[in-house]
């Protein structure tokens, strides 16, 4: 079966700095795949390549078997934080992708309304992002990505700027929303428990250059509630991923300390 999203042998260097080395990831239809890695593992570059706003030195990206080289409505993005347009209301932000792709119609508008209800934002259509909490802004971000009805949803550390409690709530919300349509998701995070909690498989990246260390299938029952986090299997998975990246994280911390001093 053709994977929904196929990342094939992506390598990229900036000058002498090798950022990505031979990254290959297949995301199956309806699969939730998480990528975990320490800072400096080339997550951002990989994401920009998949988005089609950065070109790689080698390899290719395919969606449904078709090679992609530029941005398109087949991939929907949820970004780290505050990538909402401050001058647009919740509603105007949500339909941004439809506007760009010339797809605003009665049908897509009705669908977008349903999406806002799905993410729990009905009644907030006329609010501006500055009037919303961090968690609510990320709900808008999610709705905006889903509004173009993409084949693959790509989420780049969407909850990293939220406080710990809000993050838990949003993780739970995301699993609830995901259960409804089971869209194919590529979820990038540095939060190990977040990756294990959400994903069917966790891809662990190493750093300098960014490369795949291991792919860990997560065999936990769905739908998952917060109780899963106390499941011994969950804890084992988290430990395993942590052991895989521990040294890399220590390196990156040491590097940061050197740069700071």
């Amino acid at each position: 079966m053709t994977p929904k999203l196929e990342v094939r042998d992506i390598s990229k260097s900036f000058g002498t700095l090798e950022v990505l080395r031979g990254i290959s990831i297949d995301v199956a239809d309806h699969e939730f795949l998480a990528i975990v890695g320490p800072s400096g593992c080339g997550k951002t570059t990989l994401l920009r390549t998949i988005a089609g706003i950065e070109t790689s030195d080698t390899g290719s990206i395919r969606v449904d078997g078709k090679q992609v080289t530029k941005p398109g409505a087949d991939r929907g993005f949820v970004f780290q934080q505050d990538c909402l347009f401050p001058w647009r209301t919740v509603w105007e932000n949500t339909i941004f992708g439809l506007e760009i792709n010339g797809k605003v119609s009665a049908e897509t508008t009705a669908r977008t309304r349903q999406l806002l209800q799905l993410v729990g934002l009905t009644g907030f259509e006329k609010y501006y992002p500055t009037q919303l909490s961090g968690g609510m802004r990320q709900r808008v971000n999610l709705a905006r990505a889903l509004a173009i009805n993409p084949e693959v949803l790509i989420m780049d550390e969407p909850f990293s700027a939220l406080d710990a409690q809000t993050r838990e709530v949003m993780q739970l919300e995301l699993t609830r929303i995901w259960q409804q349509g089971r869209k194919t998701v590529l979820f990038i995070t540095h939060q190990i428990d977040e990756a294990v909690f959400l994903a069917d498989r966790v891809v662990v990246l190493g750093r300098r250059p960014g490369r795949i260390k291991e792919v860990v299938p997560i065999d936990l029952p769905r739908p998952r509630g917060l109780a899963v986090k106390r499941d011994p299997r969950f804890v084992t998975y988290v430990d395993r991923v942590w052991n895989l990246i521990e040294n890399d994280v220590r390196d990156s911390v040491r590097e940061d300390a050197t740069v700071a001093s």
């Binding site: 706003i53 530029k70 409505a73 760009i100 792709n101 729990g120």
Partner: protein, 280 residues
């Protein structure tokens, strides 16, 4: 869905806002009262000083004398003539400065060649007190309204250029990237991201341009004019007519306040997102 994740409803938030609004209103009223008391107190001291301390209308006109003079000027139609002349010079000059300034700012922000060729001129002339060359402009272009328009333009255009340029450059990289990921073309990036992001800067530029333009009109008229508030001012000072001189100053001050207020209103209309949630 867990209860904790249930978002607050719009109604609850609005009720919250209303409560905060009421609190703010009480505080605001007290502050407005303080401003009014300060202004009235100042005027009273001025009046008393003029009547009992200085007592020489060659040096100081009192507020009541100024008001009388303004009424007299308005009755004879002189005031309207001067305001109309200065107003024309100011608004034509300001309009040209805004349009041209935005255009030049757009060029310097979006083209490296444009930045390299126009940039040095903009920087050099912005640092120069261009008001100082207004006599030269009058000499070259005569004492009609266009010489004043030119003086207004060369004084007001620089904040427009610099703010437009800065605004377009300051567009959040993340927002541009997000728009690109949705497949936005260069044209869409400009219209849907850079331009709206730059509008607050452009409006701040207009605020500065208004202030500079007002000074430019008056100064230009001092150096040669047949009518206008600056002309009224210099005529009055030559014959030591203090009430009239002060009347001109007061009218200019009031105009400045009104124009600044208008720009503030325009900001609220054009940038609703900046003021969202404020108590209006």
């Amino acid at each position: 869905m867990a209860d904790a994740s249930k978002p607050v409803t719009a109604d609850e938030t609005q009720a919250d806002d209303a409560a905060r609004g009421r609190l703010a209103k009480g505080g605001k009223r007290r502050l407005s009262f303080a401003s009014a008391a300060s202004i009235l107190g100042g005027l009273l001291l001025w009046e008393l000083a003029g009547r009992f301390l200085v007592r020489n209308s060659l040096f100081l006109a009192t507020p009541t004398q100024i008001v009388e003079e303004i009424v007299k000027l308005a009755a004879s139609g002189e005031l309207q003539l001067h305001m109309w002349t200065s107003g024309q010079e100011f608004f034509i000059g300001l309009a040209i400065a805004i349009v041209l300034g935005i255009a030049v700012g757009f060029i310097t922000a979006s083209s490296r060649l444009g930045d390299r060729t126009l940039g040095p001129w903009v920087t050099a002339l912005y640092a120069t007190p261009t008001i100082a060359i207004s006599p030269l402009i009058i000499l070259w272009t005569g004492i009609g309204i266009w010489s004043k328009v030119i003086v207004v333009v060369i004084n007001s255009i620089f904040p427009m250029i610099i703010n437009t340029d800065a605004g377009l450059r300051a567009t959040d990289k993340h927002l541009l990237d997000a728009a690109r990921c949705f497949g936005a073309s260069r044209w869409q990036l400009f219209w849907k991201v850079s331009l709206p992001a730059a509008i607050p800067f452009v409006l701040a530029g207009i605020r500065l341009a208004v202030g500079r333009g007002l000074v430019a009109v008056v100064v230009a008229e001092l150096f040669g004019a047949r009518a206008g508030l600056g002309y009224l001012l210099i005529q009055a000072s030559e014959v030591f007519n203090m009430p009239r001189l002060f009347a001109a100053v007061v009218i200019l001050a009031v105009t400045g306040i009104v124009l600044t207020w208008l720009v503030g209103r325009a900001e609220r209309i054009l940038l609703p997102w900046r003021f969202a949630g404020d108590d209006r």
